[in-house]
């Protein structure tokens, strides 16, 4: 509000310091001026000045009763500042083929609420998609009594290639364009939100690098293994996108021997099991024969395999052999540290992993990449979406004007 204008040059310094201090405080407990002096190398005067600036902007606040937090004894009590995790909220959405899940978190990525909503069918219209997406997010916000104005960023994962600007264009594939009917613009126009759209496998990769099996790694690949395979490739900590967001597209598997298609583990486990069951002579004692054909799904197959059912074991074995080839291809070309198999049933992939481990040395020279199953199950995409929103907000923090501190409706009676 104060119309002070400083030169672009000097503002650069202040901006860098604001950024450094905010970064330091984002994920830590309340810190003192001296703490910040040590971590930033600035003098005390500057540190407090910067902190007051950040407090003014609403990102941090000064902790009043200092005694409670610190365990020091002597000297004048230090001023303590603390990051405001509720200065705004983030929304991460997994906007899949069949349903939408929205997760609302604070600025540290701690979940506040989740809310989901199914589409009427897999072939739902673009209009329905946008409407359901919108209502799912609003529903989640309402659950936690949060106002739309508190949302600093909404990130949405869709099963389609997405370019840097969050758009899906020029793909000559109507399915993909329907999956992402310019969500960015829609959310901005309708709710005024900063929206980020990304490919679901890319977001799953972000999730794995944050809270999953890729934690701490700068080079890894996440393979989404549901109906169709899709890879999220992280190289030197950066997500690969490609020209139109198509990086990680697995259609090339058509050409790989022993693979032949980009069909996912979820689909194949079901299809292969059904196919085998059609011939009454193969594994006549299999427990899967007790189920109706339409009840044979990935979950049933993995459950049977876990119980050592011979037919299911054979399917899992075959899936593992196939995966070994897929994983090798990626590992060799990209020289990656780890490949994470993600998907709703990733918790049941131990059998597949065993086979991959056995076959990998046939195709890859040492050092071999680590192949692991995701621990995030079907939450990978929405967690990754939250992370995407979080990254954006951390990056843009100084350009963001925070909503007023407490938009909770004031008590009905006058002061």
């Amino acid at each position: 509000m104060s119309g002070k204008k400083s030169s672009t040059s000097t503002r650069q310094i202040r901006e860098a310091n604001l950024r450094a201090v905010l970064h330091d405080m984002w994920d830590s407990d309340p810190v003192t001026g001296s703490d910040l002096m040590a971590s930033t190398g600035l003098t005390r005067a500057t540190v407090h000045d910067v902190c007051e600036d950040l407090a003014h902007r609403g990102w941090i606040h000064e902790v009043e009763n200092q005694r409670e937090h610190g365990d020091y004894r002597l000297g004048r009590p230090a001023r303590r500042y603390c990051f405001q995790p509720m200065a705004g909220v983030l929304v991460g959405v997994d906007c899949g083929q069949d349903m939408t899940v929205a997760t609302v978190t604070d600025l540290r990525g701690r979940t506040l609420t989740r809310h989901d909503h199914a589409f009427s069918s897999t072939e739902h219209s673009a209009e329905e998609r946008l409407d359901v997406l919108s209502r799912t997010v609003l529903g989640a916000l309402e659950k936690a009594s949060l106002a739309a104005s508190q949302v600093l960023a909404v990130a949405v994962g869709v099963p389609a290639p997405v370019d840097v600007d969050g758009r899906t264009v020029g793909t000559a594939n109507p399915f993909w364009e329907r999956m992402n009917p310019n969500i960015v613009e829609y959310l901005a126009d309708r709710h005024g939100w900063t929206a980020l759209v990304d490919n679901d496998a890319n977001l799953a990769a972000l999730a794995e690098g944050w809270r999953g099996a890729g934690r701490g790694l700068r080079n890894f690949v996440t393979l989404l293994t549901g109906e169709a395979l899709g890879a999220g490739i992280v190289e030197e900590g950066r997500l690969l996108r490609g020209v139109r967001g198509g990086a990680g597209e697995m259609r090339f598997l058509d050409l790989v021997e022993g693979v032949g298609s980009p069909t996912g583990i979820g689909a194949l486990s079901r299809d292969w099991a059904r196919e085998a069951l059609r011939d009454p002579k193969t594994h006549p004692t299999s427990s899967l024969r007790k189920l109706a054909p339409e009840d044979i799904d990935a979950e049933a197959v993995f459950a049977a395999a876990a119980a050592a059912d011979p037919l299911a074991t054979e399917v899992v074995e075959r899936l593992g052999a196939r995966c070994a080839r897929i994983v090798s291809t990626l590992a060799v070309l990209l020289d990656t540290d780890r490949i994470v198999l993600a998907g709703a049933l990733s918790g049941s992939y131990t059998g597949i992993l065993r086979t991959i481990e056995r076959d990998l040395p046939r195709y890859v020279h040492p050092p071999l990449p680590v192949v692991a199953a995701s621990e995030l199950g079907d939450e990978a995409v929405s967690i990754g979406a939250v992370r995407r929103a979080l990254d954006h907000v951390r990056e843009q923090a100084l350009e963001i004007e925070l909503p007023p501190a407490h938009p909770v409706p004031a008590p009905a009676h006058p002061s």
Copy 2:
């Protein structure tokens, strides 16, 4: 030398301005203070101050007779500054299996001299390799009467995976380790040079992006097609490296249908032609039958194909069909704009390109990537090495202390 110390904060501003001005001047004609004011947004006083600083450091100099350069008429003549392309020199080396080529350039990448030297055999020792490399660079410098102290950076391309630090370790492949026997350390210890080592395909990619078929593109792949295939992958303007520098390794082609190995076009054209010639019944009239078997090499095959020889044409056709599959794999997974086929004979790849263009739609959905042949021939790696050195020097300019202005030996007679 002047022991002034400014705070890290204020130094950041000055550094950013030095960088901006130096960057502006690197590739342009002499510029005036007013030009720089427009491009940097700084005031005149600051611009001249920064320029004097840069002149002091030796990167630029003030042009004396201003009239000659400008075409202005009125007003007080402007001070003009010009980048010093000979403030130091760069060396780019292609250190291959059979020979070494060193290119010396000025700071704008304009070639001053080239010098090459063959190894005693493809199985030469690490010691010989380092020695020949060393002598090739010194030979090139001597040709242009340049002192070793003028070298600001030496970049070396080797046929091996190389990590970010320029080392080849942990590959369990003695050939690779012999190709890069810690060249960085050797050149630093023996000559005091800043050395950068990189994979040859990566450097070829840099060359293509600079002066070749990838010029201006942020996403493209360069395929080295000589004896063994190797890819240099550029994504968002950045070279992919992978954990140990192995990104772009093509061993995964073992698993690709209709490909089966990472053997290069150079090797296959020769092998396939020889194989066909062994059966006297296939194409008995082929002009290649006039050559001794040991004279059948890639060059001969492509020359014959250009003259419509049926046997050679069949080989080229087969190569094209194979390349289409390889190119598709990369294009789909990486969603790249263009794939450049590089190699000593890239000038003769028109036949191959025709076949690729025909086959590509079988494997890739539109929009199709552009496939092009390199125009750089066997210079791709050394040009890329120069570019690597240039990038390093531009990046590190402010940290580099330039050698004294004119190390040319003073005339023998006194003043």
